[in-house]
Amino acid sequence: MTAATADVSGQVVTDKPAKGRRSDRSRSEVRLGWLLAGPAFVVMLAVTVYPIIQAFFDSLYSYRLTAPADKHLVGLHNYVVVLSDPVWWRAFGVTTFITLVTVLVEVIVGFALALVMHRAITSLRGVLRTAILVPYGIITVVSAFAWYYAFAIDSGFVNHWFDWVPGIDTNLNWFAHQGTSLFVIMASEIWKTTPFISLLLLAGLAQVPGDLEEAAQVDGATWWQRMRKVVLPNMKAAIMVAVLFRALDAFRIFDNVFIMTNGANGTTVLSLLAYRTSIGRLEIGLGSAISVLLFLCVIGICFIAIKLFKVDLASARGER
């Protein structure tokens, strides 16, 4: 250990006080680091990587629990079956539709709520934040029941309240048609998850330099111009991260659909299809193939977001 290296490293690494025994220290640091972080790392891998590998392995077999002795290798045949079945593509279409619509609405509503929280006059700030946070604490299944009962033809009040809207009357059965079913499903999903997105956007808003906006205001920029030229460009990273996280979450939608329609009237989503195949019909081989395909879809969304939209997750999530 020479003085020269200590000087060089002293300039670069300023937060290491013990320069003298660097190599000893760093070796024990590496050991301690892995000792502390290792268990969490191993558990994470054990609960996800192992099952997905098992799923891939199972997906290569014709394997149903009703006839376990019949298990035999079929290669990629299950994937051919799934991908050539219109049921898969319909579920894929519905899932994609739900993802696109809910994320779009949530970004707009979430941004509006974030602005409200950001600008709120002090006396109202607490009330507003509390109210906005309430849906976050509600179990998704409870939210699904709340929205379902509100719209249900027998117990609901929506038909009575909104019978002046063209197309809505007391005989409208929201859960008998694809469009209206999806409307309620998406409403519940949006209601439940918008708080999360608006909190992420609020954190992004707080990062917009206030003097920059003030300067624009002094220069006579309208509200819309300030939003478009100053606020939004400075929030790009926050918006992208929020969109990606919500898109991945929305793509897994299951609870709301299961409770409200259980996939009836063209509302089957991919997660529900996987659930029905494996748990409902005990077709482990086919179900595993759907699980693996769903996993690949999620990877695909990530890939598109990171390569096309250059979402830097690591830096955006706070890693230096």
């Binding site: 640091e29 972080a37 268990p39 509600i138 929205w147 996987a274 748990i279 699980s291 999530r317």
Partner: protein
């Protein structure tokens, strides 16, 4: 702060009311439904005509007791254990990530991120099959293990962000005074880190409490079935009766404590969910 014009004041009141209606109406709706008489469920009004606690009696002492009470016990027990295990593991990991310099930090954070976006349903099929073979199907442990895939990643991220903001001079001071890194961690850091750990535990608990996919897939009886899954299997008092009232009452029972927690700790939850979430 300059005085607000009357017009602005009116605008803020309107906005606040709109936000309150949007956020609270669905909760109020299921709350109102839970107090309706089973015979008056289809009157189509928002508020009950006669307020009655029949539905609550049904889930606590009546016919739905055997469905609801075990589910409540399962949900509380399983979620608490899954939270505790995740927070303990994550505390060690996040300390290492925030504080120590070692290769693989990035790998651990990236893995946590990858796990948190994992489609839950993709894990259900293999686990369902495996659990049936090794006897974990329909047990608490059989849910606690997969719940770690939900609670652990977010705990690591949130805690790592919290730990980065702790004034570490104290730890260094302890080390200068001759404490080992482990002692410095235990004596100087843990008290400072406790608020972050608590917030993380709260967020992780909400996530475990919210689970439905694992709950319906990996259980079959009241032995381990948590509340959200049990709600989906509620039946009416007779086969001609919709379980609407009982489900609403049960939903209110599991919602009220969580909403109180959210209200009490909203400041911490907001900072926990956004800590280091957006730094770009």
């Amino acid at each position: 702060m300059k005085a607000l014009s009357t017009r602005m004041r009116v605008w803020w009141v309107v906005i606040t009311i709109a936000v309150l209606v949007w956020s609270l109406l669905p909760v109020a709706a299921i709350f109102a439904t839970s107090f309706k008489l089973p015979s008056q469920l289809d009157v189509g009004t928002f508020l009950p005509k006669t307020w009655s606690t029949t539905n609550y009696e049904q889930i606590f002492t009546g016919s739905a007791k055997d469905l609801f009470l075990p589910a409540l016990r399962n949900s509380i027990g399983i979620s608490l254990i899954a939270t505790a295990v995740a927070v303990v593991l994550a505390t060690f990991a996040a300390y290492a990530i925030a504080r120590l310099d070692f290769p693989g930090k990035r790998l651990i954070l990236t893995t946590a991120l990858g796990v948190s976006i994992f489609p839950v349903i993709s894990l259900v099929t293999p686990l369902f099959n495996l659990w049936r073979n090794i006897g974990l199907y329909d047990t608490w442990l059989g849910l606690i293990i997969p719940y770690l895939s939900l609670t652990l990643p977010i705990s690591i991220w949130t805690l790592a962000a919290f730990f980065r903001q702790i004034p570490w001079e104290l730890e260094q001071a302890a080390q200068v005074d001759g404490a080992t890194p482990w002692q410095a961690f235990r004596k100087a850091v843990v008290p400072l880190a406790a608020p972050g750990v608590f917030t993380t535990a709260l967020i992780a608990f909400f996530i475990a409490w919210n689970d439905f996919v694992y709950g319906i897939s990996l259980t079959s009886t009241s032995r381990a079935r948590p509340v959200p899954a049990a709600l989906a299997f509620f039946t009416g008092a007779s086969q001609f009766e919709e379980p609407t009232g009982a489900i609403s009452a049960a939903a209110v029972v599991v919602t009220v404590p969580v909403v109180i927690l959210v209200l009490l700790f909203q400041r911490q939850i907001v900072s926990g969910l956004t800590q280091g979430a957006v730094k770009g």
